[in-house]
């Protein structure tokens, strides 16, 4: 794939606007709250779109198309089951506490609700995680651009990191949020022509179903297994995900989804930056509306790509070293096939934008947690606001440099990264039990929350050490203690690990809470749902009312699950 001057011009225009936004925001960023929380002045629709696209890093975009090619339409479980309900729940029931308590970060909420040690545990693991995941996605993008356009790996890494650094350094979270919204529109307008052309070419939805039926049968599944979401989940063996309905609904739909969407500060920070409590509640629910439709933009191209492999003159997926198809190339292959120079530049710009805003999202969350929850709480309390603003800017530089280091670490020692990600998964799995109990059961105590998180993480590790997916070698895939159970797939094992960690954390937290002294009610006002006033101000427009939007969004998600049952 080669780019021409027009493609270059399109990429250049985008970069120009990105830098211009940073410059324009620099003068408006005067206090630490401007820098870390956008001065709590972001309108609901901007916060909502940023909330939605903060999660859509390039890895996610490329990965969703890859999963579309591998698992078919069932990939949309990650949207309609694994995102929408949690986003609506966050908006309706959790934002009043995050926003109303005036906490400046998710770890700070834990400090207000529980105690310092719970915050420290969460803040430290979160800070590490953001740097590592930003590094991993940089590495992935460096590889992809090298493969597609022949750009040197080092150049990609330093160039993109440099641009992210410039705009976050100048405008802080506001720069990050503005670029996420820009990225949202670039993804929509960059990938929509691809989907339209692809669908026309393959003969519409019915043509796609027919092509995928062949592939499904060939892989040993029922003919419609790649074009339906629930029909074949009665048993893990008859659907390409290799997970049954219980694992999908409880593991993905409940534990993993709520744990991610409702507690990950990278996302919650976008809603915390909203200009009012009402806007903060609307943001995740507004975000859920495009989230409902995004499978058409990111999963469908992967399905079309794999469908085209069975046609004369269609597509050929390159093979991985182990002989399996390299599904990660689904999106790039589609870009190269359908987009002529000009529009191709727009498609590549969309990929780059999602890469940069994914990285900026991690950096803005990192600098906030570092400055407020680690530096101000433990290293230097009671300094001036300007001091913390400067610390935040330095943390931005440090965060970008650490991400670059992580990217090179990923390039050199891939197995270390796999191990780190596994450990983070153990740490994250129990989180939602802690928040659920903390927010909705006033009896929950700090010691209980801390013990629950630790034992939940240990529970996750133990479950992983005792079980293994089919055909895997004991080690990083599990079974490193001894094997008591074999799962049909890695995904089934992951979902069960999450359920196990959540249950362990829930039980430990309840038990310890009952034997430790609770905090008096008046200290928990604004932190626990039942002790919080709910006189919400009226939203700017009646159609933005969360109590109206929430059932509509949930109903639409339900309908989509039925239509593609």
């Amino acid at each position: 794939m080669t780019l021409t001057i027009v493609d270059g011009l399109i990429i250049g225009l985008y970069l120009l606007v990105v830098i211009a936004i940073g410059v324009a925001l620099r003068r408006r960023t005067r206090t630490s709250e401007d820098f870390f929380l956008s001065g709590r002045s972001i309108p609901a629709w901007v916060a909502g779109l940023a909330f939605m696209s903060a999660n859509m890093g390039a890895q996610e975009v490329v990965g969703m198309a890859a999963s579309g090619a591998k698992y078919g339409l069932a990939t949309s479980h990650f949207y309609w089951v694994g995102a929408i309900p949690a986003m609506v729940f966050l908006g309706l029931f959790m934002m009043p506490l995050y926003y109303g308590s005036r906490a400046r970060s998710v770890p700070e909420y834990l400090k207000l609700r529980f105690d310092e040690k719970t915050r420290l545990l969460n803040a430290t693991t979160f800070a590490f995680m953001t740097v590592i995941s930003s590094g991993i996605s940089m590495y992935a993008m460096g590889l992809l651009l090298n493969l597609l356009l022949g750009w040197p790996f080092d150049l990609s890494i330093w160039l993109w990191a440099g641009i992210v650094l410039i705009y976050v350094f100048m405008g802080g979270l506001t720069s990050g949020i503005y670029n996420e919204v820009l990225q949202f529109f670039l993804i929509v307008f960059g990938f929509a022509p691809l989907v339209i052309l692809g669908l026309v070419d393959i003969g519409g939805w019915s043509g796609l179903m027919a092509s995928l039926a062949d592939i499904s049968l060939q892989r040993g599944y029922p003919a419609d297994a790649l074009t339906t979401v629930w029909r074949h989940t009665g048993s893990a063996d008859t659907n390409p995900l290799g997970v049954g309905w219980f694992g999908i609904s409880m593991g993905l739909g409940f534990v993993l989804s709520f744990g991610y969407w409702c507690t990950d500060f990278l996302l919650v920070q976008r809603a915390m930056a909203a200009d009012s409590l009402s806007a903060a509640r609307q943001a995740p629910i507004i975000a859920a509306i495009p989230k409902l439709l995004f499978p058409a933009l990111v999963i469908l191209p992967g399905m079309i790509a794999i469908g085209l492999t069975h046609r004369a003159g269609g597509l050929t997926f390159p093979l991985k070293p182990d002989g399996s198809l390299n599904y990660d190339l689904a999106m790039p292959l589609m870009l190269a096939r359908y987009l002529p120079t000009g529009l191709l530049g727009l498609g590549i710009t969309a990929l780059m934008a999602s890469f940069m805003s994914g990285m900026a999202g991690n950096v803005t969350a990192f600098n906030t947690v570092w400055t407020y929850d680690l530096y101000q709480a433990h290293i230097r309390p009671n300094a001036s606001d300007t001091h913390y603003l400067n610390v935040g800017r330095i943390a931005t530089v440090a965060g970008v440099l650490l991400s670059i280091a992580a990217a090179y670490l990923a390039a050199r020692f891939n197995n270390i990264m796999d191990l780190l990600q596994l450990v983070f998964a153990f740490v994250n799995a129990p989180l939602f039990a802690t928040f659920l109990l903390g927010m909705f059961w006033k009896r929950t105590t700090g010691h209980a929350a801390f013990a629950g998180l630790l034992l939940g993480t240990i529970g996750a590790a133990l479950h992983h050490g005792l079980t293994i997916p089919q055909h895997a070698i004991p080690g990083i895939k599990g079974g490193w203690l001894f094997i008591v159970h074999t799962y049909p797939s890695e995904m089934a094992q992951n979902f069960s690990t999450a359920i196990m960690a959540w249950t362990a954390c829930f039980l430990v937290t309840v038990t310890v809470s009952l034997i430790t002294a609770p905090r008096p009610d008046d200290q928990l006002k604004g932190l626990v749902y039942s002790l919080t006033e709910k006189g919400y101000e009226k939203p700017a427009h009646w159609y933005l009312n969360p109590t109206l939007l929430a059932p509509l969004v949930l109903g639409a998600a339900f309908a989509l699950n039925l239509i593609f049952w």
């Binding site: 225009l13 211009a20 022509p193 052309l197 070419d201 002529p340 000009g342």
Partner: protein
């Protein structure tokens, strides 16, 4: 916040739309074999232009108020 986000979004998409329309008008039709014979640069450029101008208009309307 002071800076209305619709302004840079509108400016970017208006510019992108114009670039694609001009390029679509002067480019060799042979490059559209891969987009099923449709001059997708021209067509999609119009879509981007309409979106960009709408965003700019919304931003100006707010400033005028």
């Amino acid at each position: 916040m002071g800076l209305d986000l619709r302004l840079p979004i509108g400016a970017l998409f208006t510019a992108l739309g114009l670039v694609l329309i001009v390029y679509g008008a002067i480019s060799d039709p042979a490059i559209y074999a891969r987009s099923l014979g449709i001059n997708i640069n021209l067509d999609w450029g119009c879509v981007l232009l309409v979106f960009g101008v709408a965003m700019l208009a919304a931003s100006w309307r707010r400033t005028a108020k």
